[in-house]
């Protein structure tokens, strides 16, 4: 095998650890995202359970104040940036090319690069734990608490740089998926014949492109305040500017978190209702409208900041307005179920659960849009319950629907239906017990982000119930774990289309060949596999006459991601004066440049000895 420009030989073997480290196959990258997200879910879950253990009783001393403050900061940051977003990325990566009849994404190496930046950025942030500098300023890091005056330790530096590293990967993925979806669709697949999940991914990618740069700017400005004594957000400047910058990003971010799940649900419901999605065009348009309007509601996170009546009133109205397209989607999903022939397989249970839980989340959000009521809700457990209903009841349930739905495609095996149902019901009981308790305790005045409370405040019973619910919730994931392990080993063989679904990913084998489609299909409708007469797709097991040539793996994405992350680490160590940090930054900078050079000049396909299958 030819060694190309790289110093090391370019690994080309289809199996083994090197094949995973150098993969640029969207399917493998999807699996990497899913496995890594599961690991961080465990971490974030432990952080949650520790908090719930501490809050189960008044005046508890299981966990001290500083630790608790780090726990809620990291639980939020982990779940948002290291779990839900990457789990969404897992779904985009694995499924989008398959759904549009493509053989990979537009920029496969950039795709791998996005994954490695996620992994390394997440590790960088969590590494701070071993340096006794676990971030503890809250997941939205309000100024001036994050400034050097009030947070001397490097905890905030790890937070800022971990986010910048991960965010770079996310932004790259945003561009990648826009280009992929707009350019690599199979012939005949017009935009209005794309599955809803593809649409929602496209919209999410645009949201990423427009929102993440704002966050990047805010983080860089904070970095300059901390490292170089600038004054963007400190006293003498206006700390509220941080809040504006954060939430201009932060609100679209929550739509980035929910739209993919909505997309999954929009494709799962028709499959198990045995009828088309009701109002496809409206559902797609509603998603686009929500994304657009999502940039106009950010200051509803700031109703108590004292912005003045005009700003407060305007944002209250825009926030209420965004309920309209959201409601339209819910009604269309209901109409999809209405008149159907409903099969309650596990993916369907989670899709229905999504609708009901997101309904509660969304309606409680609508309640906060009433500004006077928000004055009693803001920074209390009422808000915490609201966003857990939308993020867990919404995004997580939707992603789990996707997991159960696409597992057969990824592995070629079916998951156990009974264990799936047990997972669903145990999880739903635990989840609702935990968060309904939190709605109530918030209404009785319990603020958020407090490591303890006294018995006289009257919150103990509800907190105990919430903690109990959290344990049940945690146990339900053990059921999922058992199901995953058993099914991967001994699951029933799935075949190409075990659900008798309509979209293109079900036209090819399970798992797909590494080239996905031997012959790129021509599409004539929204439901290619359901429309017999319009079906021009070759049968799934057709052998390609000539196996398509796929781009070769590459290690430069990994190396570049590594170099960037280590340079960020060097910056943290440097603290303006430390030579060791400066050395790390310089050497990693050079390595990064070398990687960019290698990446740019290596051939996409290595000529001899291309492996046939994976």
């Amino acid at each position: 095998m030819a060694a190309n420009i790289g110093i090391l030989e370019r690994p080309l073997a289809p199996t083994g650890i090197w094949s995973w480290l150098t993969t640029i196959d969207h399917k493998r990258i999807g699996i990497l995202y899913a496995v890594t997200a599961s690991f961080f879910f465990l971490l974030g879950g432990i952080e949650a359970l520790l908090m719930r253990a501490q809050l189960a009783q008044a005046d508890s001393t299981i966990v001290g104040a500083e630790t608790f403050n780090a726990l809620f900061t990291m639980h939020g940051t982990t779940m948002v940036f290291m779990v839900i977003m990457p789990a969404g990325a897992a779904a985009f990566n694995y499924v989008i090319p398959l759904m549009i009849g493509a053989r990979d994404v537009a920029f496969p190496r950039l795709n791998a690069f996005s994954y490695w930046l996620y992994l390394f950025g997440a590790l960088l942030m969590n590494f701070s734990f071993f340096m006794n500098a676990f971030p503890d300023v809250g997941w939205f890091g309000y100024a001036p608490l994050t400034s050097n005056e009030y947070t001397l330790s490097s905890s905030t530096n790890y937070w800022v740089l971990g986010l910048l590293v991960m965010g770079t990967g996310t932004l790259a993925a945003g561009f990648n998926f826009v280009v992929t979806i707009l350019n690599l669709r199979a012939p005949g697949m017009t935009l209005l014949r794309m599955p809803v999940f593809v649409w929602m991914t496209l919209i999410t990618a645009f949201l990423i492109i427009f929102a993440f740069p704002v966050f990047t700017i805010a983080l860089v400005a904070l970095m300059f305040d901390r490292f170089f004594d600038f004054n963007f957000f400190r006293a003498g400047s206006d700390p509220v500017i941080w809040q504006h910058l954060f939430w201009v990003f932060g609100h679209p971010e929550v739509y980035i978190l929910i739209l993919p799940a909505m997309g999954i649900v929009s494709d799962v419901l028709p499959t198990f209702a045995r009828k088309p999605l009701f109002g496809y065009t409206t559902v797609v348009a509603a998603g686009a409208v929500i994304a657009f309007m999502g940039f106009g509601v950010w200051a509803h996170h700031m109703f108590t900041v004292g912005m003045g009546p005009w700003a407060t009133g305007a944002f209250a109205l825009t926030t209420m307005a965004i309920a309209v397209p959201t409601g339209v989607k819910v009604f269309n999903w209901m109409a999809t179920l209405w008149g159907g022939s409903l099969e309650f397989k596990t993916p369907m249970l989670f899709a229905i659960g999504f609708i009901m839980m997101f309904l509660i989340g969304g309606l409680s959000g609508l309640m906060h849009s009433a500004v006077p009521v928000d004055a009693q809700h803001q920074d209390s457990y009422f808000v915490v319950a609201h966003f857990h209903y939308t993020l867990f009841g919404g995004s997580m349930y939707g992603l789990l629907a996707g997991l159960y739905y696409w597992f057969p495609k990824v592995t070629g095996k079916m998951m156990d239906e009974r264990l799936g149902k047990v997972h669903f019901w145990v999880m739903s009981i635990g989840f609702n017990l935990t968060f309904i308790s939190q709605f109530i305790v918030g209404a009785t005045g319990m603020p958020r982000r407090i490591y303890t409370y006294t018995e006289a405040q009257g919150w103990e019973t509800l907190n105990l119930m919430a903690s109990f619910g959290a344990v049940i919730l945690g146990i339900s994931f053990l059921v999922l774990l058992v199901n995953l392990i058993r099914s991967v080993r001994n699951g029933e063989e799935a075949g190409a289309n075990p659900w008798n679904a309509a979209t293109l990913e079900w036209a090819i084998s399970s798992p797909p060949h590494h080239y996905n489609f031997g012959v790129v299909p021509t599409v004539h409708s929204l439901y290619p596999l359901w429309d017999e007469e319009a079906n021009a797709i070759a049968p799934p097991e057709e052998p390609a006459h000539e196996e398509p040539v796929m781009p070769s793996p590459s290690y430069w994405p990994l190396v570049l991601a590594f170099a960037i992350t280590m340079a960020a680490g060097g910056l943290i160590i440097w603290e303006g004066h430390n030579i060791a940090g400066l050395t790390v930054m310089s050497s990693m900078g050079l390595l990064g440049l070398r990687a960019i050079y290698g990446w740019s000049f290596e051939p996409a396909i290595v000529e001899e000895g291309v492996p046939a299958h994976h």
């Binding site: 009701f278 409903l342 603020p447 509800l462």
Partner: protein
């Protein structure tokens, strides 16, 4: 698989409702937003109930439709799904209908926001509240000796039936002023002055508040009280706050305590007691401390034991991180003897209304 039979779902619904009432009955709090004690908190609760009703209405419609759909359209032999793609009329209808529900929330909201712009009543009590890590400072401009300001800390006193106009500032990071039974919160932000929503307490009593914006390690322990007194009692308090305390009898614990406070412990460098040599403004004002319900910004009952423990070692009572160099009260366990601490406590407890 049949998810719910009608019988089972009715039983489940009733059980859940019963559980809900049980829980609601069991859970009351001195910080509950559902127990208003001011005109403002009452009108906010009214809007709250309207909003809950609107949300519940929509939630009920969707939930009931869902339950019916799940039962009626479950897969059965011979049952075929209707291949419908959409219905424009329905789309228009369910885009427009929610707007009417939203109006029920929008109108009260806008009226309330407009209401926040009005000027305080001419006889409103004006107070300036400043957030510190991790205590609340309260200043009453014009009510102090010779028309200067009256200062107190952590326990606000206001008269019933009068409008209270509080402005909010911060000395360090962002805090938030929240006393749920009286008024919704507004943030205390450094570099600006915010106005809390005007409110008129309508019941005499003691109401609990808490900082509601994460402000560092001891955020959970930054609480406060609002004492709503009769107008007469409030006036007596103001007069007493502006008078020098009675001289403690010579040789008493209080006298010894006053010496430790002013000389040995140099407490007066940070703490003020009106009419005495202690005039520091770095920490909470301690005038009439003996009448306070709590020690340490609303976190402990004002007992001898708690007060002594607080003076002896503040850092074992509140998680003060020196990360960032917060100027917080030092510990005295190594510089003052137990007897001296007890004397100071006795002195502070002797500072009561005359």
């Amino acid at each position: 698989m049949v998810p719910f039979s009608k019988g089972r779902s009715t039983i489940l619904a009733s059980a859940l409702t019963a559980l809900l009432f049980l829980v609601l009955a069991a859970c009351t709090s001195p910080q509950s937003t559902f127990e208003p004690r001011s005109n403002e908190a009452e009108s906010v609760l009214t809007i709250y109930i309207v909003v809950i009703a609107a949300a519940s209405f929509v939630g009920a419609v969707v939930t009931i439709t869902m339950i019916i759909a799940l039962i009626r359209f479950r897969a059965r032999p011979g049952h075929k799904a209707r291949q419908i793609h959409g219905n424009s009329k329905l789309e228009i209808a369910w885009t427009i209908a929610p707007i009417f529900v939203l109006m029920t929330i929008a109108f009260p909201t806008i009226f309330w926001i407009v209401g926040t712009t009005r000027e305080p009543a001419p006889d409103a009590i004006e107070i300036k509240a400043t957030g510190h890590q991790w205590w609340f400072e309260f200043e009453y401009p014009g009510l102090g000796p010779n028309g200067t300001s009256l200062y107190t800390a952590n326990e606000l006193r206001v008269p019933v039936g009068r409008e209270i106009a509080i402005t909010l500032e911060s000395d360090d990071v962002i805090h938030s002023f929240w006393v749920p039974q009286l008024v919704g919160k507004t943030d205390m932000i450094p570099t600006r002055t915010n106005k809390l929503q005007l409110f008129t307490p309508n019941e005499i009593g003691e109401f609990w508040g808490q900082c509601a914006e994460f402000c560092g390690s001891a955020h959970a322990l930054m609480r406060f009280r609002v004492h709503v007194d009769s107008l007469g009692d409030f006036g007596r308090w103001v007069r007493s706050m502006n008078s020098a305390p009675a001289e403690p009898s010579p040789g008493s614990a209080e006298a010894r305590g006053q010496r430790v406070f002013q000389l040995t412990g140099a407490c007066g460098r940070c703490h003020s007691i009106t009419g005495t040599a202690s005039q520091g403004r770095i920490g909470p004002d301690l005038t009439l401390f003996g009448d306070r319900s709590t020690v340490g910004s609303g976190i402990l009952d004002n007992t001898d034991e708690n007060l002594r423990a607080w003076i002896r070692d503040v850092r074992s009572m509140k998680p003060i991180t020196d990360d960032g160099g917060v100027a917080f009260m030092p510990t005295f366990k190594d510089t003052l003897s137990d007897a001296q601490v007890a004397d100071v406590a006795a002195y502070l407890k002797s500072l009561i209304l005359q």
